[in-house]
């Protein structure tokens, strides 16, 4: 796990209040209890706060799975 992956996992665990959560790239809304469209928005807010960045609308449209979120985060991090 890269440090980014660890932080991502920590945000998910804290956000969904589930310490046993193990992230996999293929996970989408239906794989995590409580991950609905409303929670998704505030999850994105939490990621923005954790990583100190803002996502644009194009990125928001992509970030619908754990894998896609990782991809966007990695791209953002290398662009910074």
């Amino acid at each position: 796990m890269t440090p980014t992956d660890q932080r991502l996992q920590a945000v998910f665990r804290e956000f969904f209040n589930d310490e046993s959560l193990e992230l996999r790239d293929g996970m989408t809304f239906s794989d995590i209890r409580g991950w609905d469209s409303l929670a998704h928005v505030t999850l994105i807010n939490a990621l923005e706060a954790e990583f100190g960045l803002k996502f644009g609308v194009r990125e928001l449209m992509k970030m619908k799975s754990v894998g896609a979120i990782r991809q966007v985060l990695t791209a953002k991090a290398s662009a910074a």
Binding site: P3, N17, V41, T42, A46
Partner: protein, 740 residues
């Protein structure tokens, strides 16, 4: 990289050395070297930590707690003594399942600061107590955490803890309300977080969150979810985008009028159909506009129209007894670029942003608190370090810092703010460990003092414990201890008062005296619905009462004393002019209150129009001043009887036999209206014990006694009035006498 026993020098150059060290550790595993590094870092950099560091430490501690010797290592780390080490040790204990030990560590840990860090500690304390099965002691840390937090994330955690705690224990609150939040945008992003925000003000609630942009239908449709919910408070949170304003409006005056009329129609429905109090959010003036700054200059520009709308909204709302939440001000305070995010609006209809939620919900909760009549009533002030720099008993008049230089002027600026509170009717009191003469000398003789001796309603400078003094202050002002706000720069005193008297509000004060006013303001404890003339006079009234007490102590009997006050009592039916004050009085009065039935302005207006209703308010003046409207009574005709459903008097006018006059006036009306008997009712509360035998004292007969302590009384209407010799009474409440 090799294990390092001591923190490498480069950590010094990082903004956040602790997080830097934790990042090193993740490469390093959890060997002995890693532990030594951690201990060194916690000791060296751990005296002040921010919320991000606290989150990072807690995460790290979770992975470190997996070993069997977690308790031993936690004790080792805790012994380092810095807040960071204590926090880390508590997180280890929690992960190892030692919730009680974790709670104990968090309870004694010093706060790193008075903002989010404090909220995180208290949240963790509440969580560990809850997990340790101690739900009954979760309420206070939850309440303080909700007052302190500045993030939505923590509010969400607090909401979760609150819900869990309420399942296993009854967390007492001062009031409960059903609140509907309706409006535009996706309200679910913040409406539910009113729950923890309100709990921070000791108020419980049930929240109904309106559907996206459905507020018009929800209010108008008598079979809507809203109707079934029976809201006691309706919050209308419509954002500026839903106003449908063009960049330039052709007829701005008509547009504003139409918008206000539309809102007023919704208010009326809420007030009449649900008897609900209404809170209307006003409108942000967006920064981004094609007209640029000219949007505010050109007559139909959107910015100018919203400016006008907001101004006219204050007036329309005041007339309709609706409370306005100043969103434009909140957006400005947050910074408009942080208040809203164009991407999040477009993608998710989120408004305002996550960052804005704590300020919004806290302000809304403060307004709900005012609607519940729970506005705090008195500011109690420590002296040394709070109203001036230094210690008067040691530094003397010439040595303390008050005016003169930047530090001294920070204190005089705080004096100005407090004087402003006093002018709007919040009495000030002193509670300080000092020799009284030393303490008073500052307000008598210091050339720079803004506050003067007679600005204080009560002045207690002595060496008694502060909780005792606070109880005395409340007793002398005849208000509840829970109406006090205590300001002290010394955290030890603050914590002592919180421990001994949890009902007193004790805001955190920052180190910098220049920020005292801001810190006090941001508690919103003195937010009220309206400012009446009575409010503006009240601080004087409290002070005058202390003078009256002195006069009373000099008089040999009550009659002489009452005559010497030269009272004038005016009894009149409720009217429009005095309506805000009457509603305020009915909702705030606790002690001399027979039934303590709270009400809304719309309900009171309904009574005023109902011919079967008798209404009376009381206004009192005496040689010391005008106490204003300080009593109210409502009675309902039921056949041959007249039943008193509400009767209350402000604690400021008690002990002066005014109750006799109010009752005599009702009886006079009853006689003229041909009523045979008056029915009285007493409903006990935690605070109205002094009225429990009031009707007995007036010779009423008990006709019903209920299990809950409630009683009904009856008295026949006598043929004649008793003469009043000890004051001057004007009474216009009685029914017209039919020509005799």
């Amino acid at each position: 990289m090799a294990a390092t026993a001591h923190a490498p020098a480069f950590l010094d150059s990082l903004d956040d050395p602790i997080r830097g060290a934790l990042a090193l550790q993740s490469d390093d595993g959890a060997g002995e070297g890693a532990l030594l590094l951690l201990q060194d870092v916690l000791s060296r950099y751990g005296s002040r930590i921010g919320p991000k560091t606290m989150h990072a430490l807690a995460r790290h501690a979770k992975s470190a707690a997996l070993g069997a010797d977690a308790a031993v290592r936690a004790a080792q780390i805790r012994a380092i003594g810095t807040p960071a080490a204590q926090w880390y040790a508590a997180a280890m204990l929690e992960s190892a399942g030692s919730f009680e030990a974790a709670a104990e560590a968090l309870d004694v840990m010093d706060d790193v600061s008075w903002g989010e860090e404090r909220a995180l500690r208290l949240e963790a304390l509440a969580r560990n107590r809850l997990r340790a099965g101690d739900a009954a002691r979760v309420g206070l840390p939850l309440r303080y955490a909700a007052q302190a937090t500045q993030t939505r994330q923590t509010l969400v955690s607090l909401d979760r803890l609150l819900t869990q705690a309420q399942q296993s224990a009854d967390l007492p609150v001062k009031a409960r309300r059903r609140i509907a939040v309706l409006g535009s945008g996706v309200l679910d992003f913040w409406a539910g977080l009113l729950r923890p925000a309100l709990f921070g003000f000791d108020i419980g609630c049930e929240i109904l969150t309106g559907e996206y942009d459905q507020y018009q239908q929800e209010i108008r449709d008598p079979s809507s979810r809203l109707a079934k919910f029976r809201p006691e408070i309706v919050v209308l949170a419509v954002n500026w985008r839903s106003l449908g304003l063009l960049d330039e409006t052709a007829d701005p005056a008509a547009t504003v009028r139409n918008l206000i009329d539309g809102m007023a129609a919704l208010w009326r429905t809420c007030q009449h159909r649900y008897r609900a109090a209404v809170i209307q959010l006003n409108f942000e003036i967006p920064e981004v506009d094609p007209l640029g700054r000219l949007s505010a200059a050109s007559p139909g520009g959107r910015a100018r129209v919203i400016h006008t709308l907001n101004l006219e909204l204050w007036d329309a709302a005041q007339q309709a007894r609706v409370a306005v939440l100043d969103v434009e001000q909140l957006a400005a305070a947050t910074g408009k670029r942080n208040w809203s995010d164009p991407g999040m609006w477009i993608a998710a209809k989120q408004y305002p942003t996550t960052d804005a939620v704590p300020l919004l919900t806290r302000n809304l909760a403060a307004l709900v608190r005012a609607v519940c009549g729970l506005t705090s009533k008195c500011a109690v002030l420590d002296l040394d370090g709070t109203l001036w720099g230094g210690v008067i008993g040691e530094d003397g008049l010439d040595g303390i810092r008050l005016g003169g230089d930047a530090e001294g002027e920070a204190y005089t600026a705080f004096h100005q703010y407090l004087l402003g509170l006093r002018r709007r009717g919040i009495p000030l009191a002193v509670c300080s460990k000092n020799n009284e003469d030393d303490a008073r000398s500052v307000f008598r003789r210091h050339p720079e003092t803004v506050l003067k001796e007679d600005d204080f309603a009560v002045f207690l400078a002595n060496w008694e414990p502060k909780p005792d003094n606070l109880k005395n202050i409340a007793a002398m002002l005849n208000i509840g201890v829970d109406s006090l706000v205590f300001l002290d720069d010394n955290p030890v005193e603050r914590n002592l008062v919180r421990r001994e008297l949890p009902e007193v509000e004790v805001p955190e004060l920052p180190d910098d005296p220049a920020r005292y006013a801001e810190a006090l303001h941001a508690t919103y404890l003195f937010e009220s619905l309206s400012l009446t003339d009575e409010d503006r006079r009240r601080a004087d009234t409290y002070r005058d009462n202390v003078l009256r007490t002195e006069l009373a102590e000099g008089s040999t009997n009550l009659d002489d004393y009452l005559v010497s006050l030269r009272m004038k009592v005016d009894l009149r039916p409720f009217d429009e002019t005095n309506l805000p004050r009457i509603v305020q009085l009915i909702n705030k009065t606790n002690q001399f209150s027979l039934t303590t039935r709270r009400t809304t302005a719309s309900e009171v207006m309904a009574w005023m129009q109902d011919p079967a209703c008798y209404t009376q308010f009381m206004r009192l003046q005496d040689r010391f001043g005008d106490s204003g409207v300080t009593g109210a009574m409502v009675a309902v005709r039921e056949g041959e009887t007249l039943r008193i459903v509400n009767w209350l008097m402000s604690c400021r006018v008690l002990g002066r036999r005014i109750e006799n006059l109010m009752l005599a006036s009702l009886i006079r009306h009853a006689r003229r209206a041909g009523v045979a008997a008056v029915i009285g009712e007493y409903l006990p509360t935690a605070k109205n014990g002094q009225t429990s035998d009031l009707f007995d004292r007036f010779g009423f007969e008990r006709i019903e006694e209920r299990e809950d302590g409630g009683r009904l009384y009856r008295a026949a209407v006598p043929a004649e009035d008793e003469p009043v010799t000890w004051c001057e009474v004007t009474d216009t409440t009685a029914a017209e006498v039919s020509a005799v």
